[in-house]
Amino acid sequence: MILFKRADKKLFLMLFALMLFAILPELLMPLYKATAKIGQDLVYSRAPILSLLVEHIWLTLFSSGLSAIFGIMLGVLVTTKAGEDFKQVVTMFGSIGQTLPPVAVLAIAAGFVGYGTKPTLIALFLYGLFPIIAGTIAGLNAVGRDIILAAEGMGMTESQIFLKVKLPLAAEVIIAGVRTSVVINIGTATIGAAIGAGGLGAPIMAGLINDNFPFIIQGGVAVGLLAVFTDRLISLFEMRIRAYRT
């Protein structure tokens, strides 16, 4: 991938830290010892952190992927002449979804489809939709009126204007919306563990229930590292896109 042509030190450092910790959570043993109560397990043992990390990545990747596809589509739709009337409705639903606490969304989704991965995916999907719709609308609306007038005046068709002008110019802001959404989802996905979706939320939940601080640290550190790594990764992608505009 062109992205990695110019090796990004920070990105690799983050990836390295994440993998190292997922394989060897014992690295922070002194911290666990200092925070554990007498007689408590120090390292979460029901599943290796690495496999929880893989589960977590799947959860967010799948839900954010769907959010990106539908979010960008909806955002594009409401910025066309035909879809203009739906703009209000779509942004309203999006922002309502965003203000509901994720636990509530999760509970509602569980009410419909039962426990496990499914309701978690639905909740994350809905939750991740709004930043992407907002980013897409903002990005497309920011393309200058004169640029579009020139494109139209030169004889580009509607779809050429969209593909050759609007989309490339809006891409950076759209991807920024996706980044926000993904990073939020990485954090929010931890609550999926409460209804049995697994992922890095599992040690955190277990820690909360059993008052075991080391477990919370293990889940939290892994989620944190995953979030900063992903943020960096997508940021780099944004910068690459921006490079075309100098």
């Binding site: 200058g144 579009i148 005046g153 004889g155 580009m156 505009r245 100098t246």
Partner: protein, 360 residues
């Protein structure tokens, strides 16, 4: 080439353009001028079907444009707008290549065309072709804008206040470039401005508009000499006479003048001055180099021993320059007359301030 017949354009109940008719001949540069909001841009947008007329019709090359697919029509018409509207994610070359690419021209042909156009608008291809709009000055960006409009060699060019956002110096540079390009390419151009000096400089025909209607149309000289009403008089300004002089060439007022050469015997020169007060002096190539005043004490020898030598630029004008420029030089140098020279810098005659005042 372009015929506008009884064109009316309403926005809701508001008439932006009211029943205007206009004929623009092939190869003519027509300048549409008028206060802001008088319907100039609207008229232009009707011509490339960015707006649909409420009433009336437009013919280009005898064909009713309402019968032409807007996309096809637009690809055959160059369009330049005030804020340029270059695509910020494309280089200068890619911007210029837009329409040829839409028309699916062959790659090599596009490359050659882009290079030709960059040269035409005064941008060195090697330096500019890879630059992004953000790296261009306002003037350079609009040069690219003009090149982009000319890319597919359209017969018709629509320019909507193309130089309106530029500083005065850059603006006059681009105006001069346009004059040069137009003298080469002879496009049919409808050019919108609200700057009367720009209109006078560029136009073959001026169309003055007000509140969606044409108030007067005609050659720049006609507008200046015979304004039909107070609005036109006010619009062209109180310095109408001066503006007209900017349209008049020096040769109009040039009259023959006696001259002597540097090596003429001074007694012959004195004879030639006769009852005048001076005579022009030229060098061996008949290039003016100074003058000889009549009052001398018993002169002997040659003209070169008595004449005043001055630098060429200070006291000469070319026959192709405007009378306004000649007047400007007279005022700056504090003289009443200048030598008129032809293209080879040879003496042709002289122009005097008295003649300008009496004959214009």
């Amino acid at each position: 080439m372009i015929q506008i017949k009884n064109l009316t354009k309403n926005y809701n109940d508001y008439a932006a353009v009211k029943d205007i008719s206009l004929d623009i001949k092939k190869g003519e540069l027509c300048v549409m001028i008028g206060p802001s909001g008088c319907g100039k841009s609207t008229t232009l947008k009707v011509l490339n079907r960015l707006e649909t007329p409420t009433e009336g019709s437009v013919f280009i090359n005898g064909e009713d444009i309402s019968n032409i697919d807007p996309v096809i029509l637009r690809r055959g018409i160059g369009y330049v707008i005030q804020n340029v509207g270059l695509f910020p994610h494309m280089t200068a070359s890619e911007n210029i290549a837009t329409v040829p690419q839409l028309l699916k021209w062959d790659k090599n042909k596009i490359g050659e065309r882009v290079e030709y156009l960059l040269n035409l608008v005064g941008l060195e291809p090697f330096e500019y072709s890879k630059k992004y709009p953000a790296e261009l000055s306002g003037g350079e960006a609009q040069r690219v804008g003009v090149a982009r409009a000319l890319a597919a060699d359209p017969e018709v060019l629509l320019m909507d206040e193309p130089f309106g956002a530029l500083d005065p110096i850059t603006r006059s540079e681009l105006q001069r470039s346009l004059v040069k390009i137009q003298s080469e390419l002879k496009k049919t151009i409808l050019f919108v401005t609200h700057d009367i000096d720009e209109a006078i400089l560029l136009a073959d025909m001026v169309v003055l508009m007000k509140d969606g209607e044409i108030v007067q149309s005609g050659s720049p000289t006609q507008m200046l000499e015979f304004p039909v009403n107070k609005f036109v008089r006010d619009f062209v300004g109180t310095d109408r006479a001066l503006k007209r002089l900017s349209l008049t060439k020096v040769e109009t007022f040039c009259k023959p003048a006696p001259y002597v050469s540097l090596n003429t015997d001074i007694s012959n020169a004195v004879e030639m001055i006769d009852n005048g007060i001076y005579i022009w002096v030229v060098d061996e190539n008949e290039k003016p180099c100074g003058w000889l005043d009549a009052y001398m004490d018993e002169p002997t020898g040659f003209v070169k021993d008595y004449c005043t030598i001055d630098s060429f630029e200070n006291f000469t004008v070319s026959k192709k320059q405007s009378v306004k420029e000649a007047l400007n030089k007279m005022i700056k140098s504090g003289v009443n007359q200048l030598v008129v020279v032809d293209g080879d810098e040879r003496l042709l005659g002289e122009i005097s301030i008295d003649d300008i005042i009496q004959k214009s």
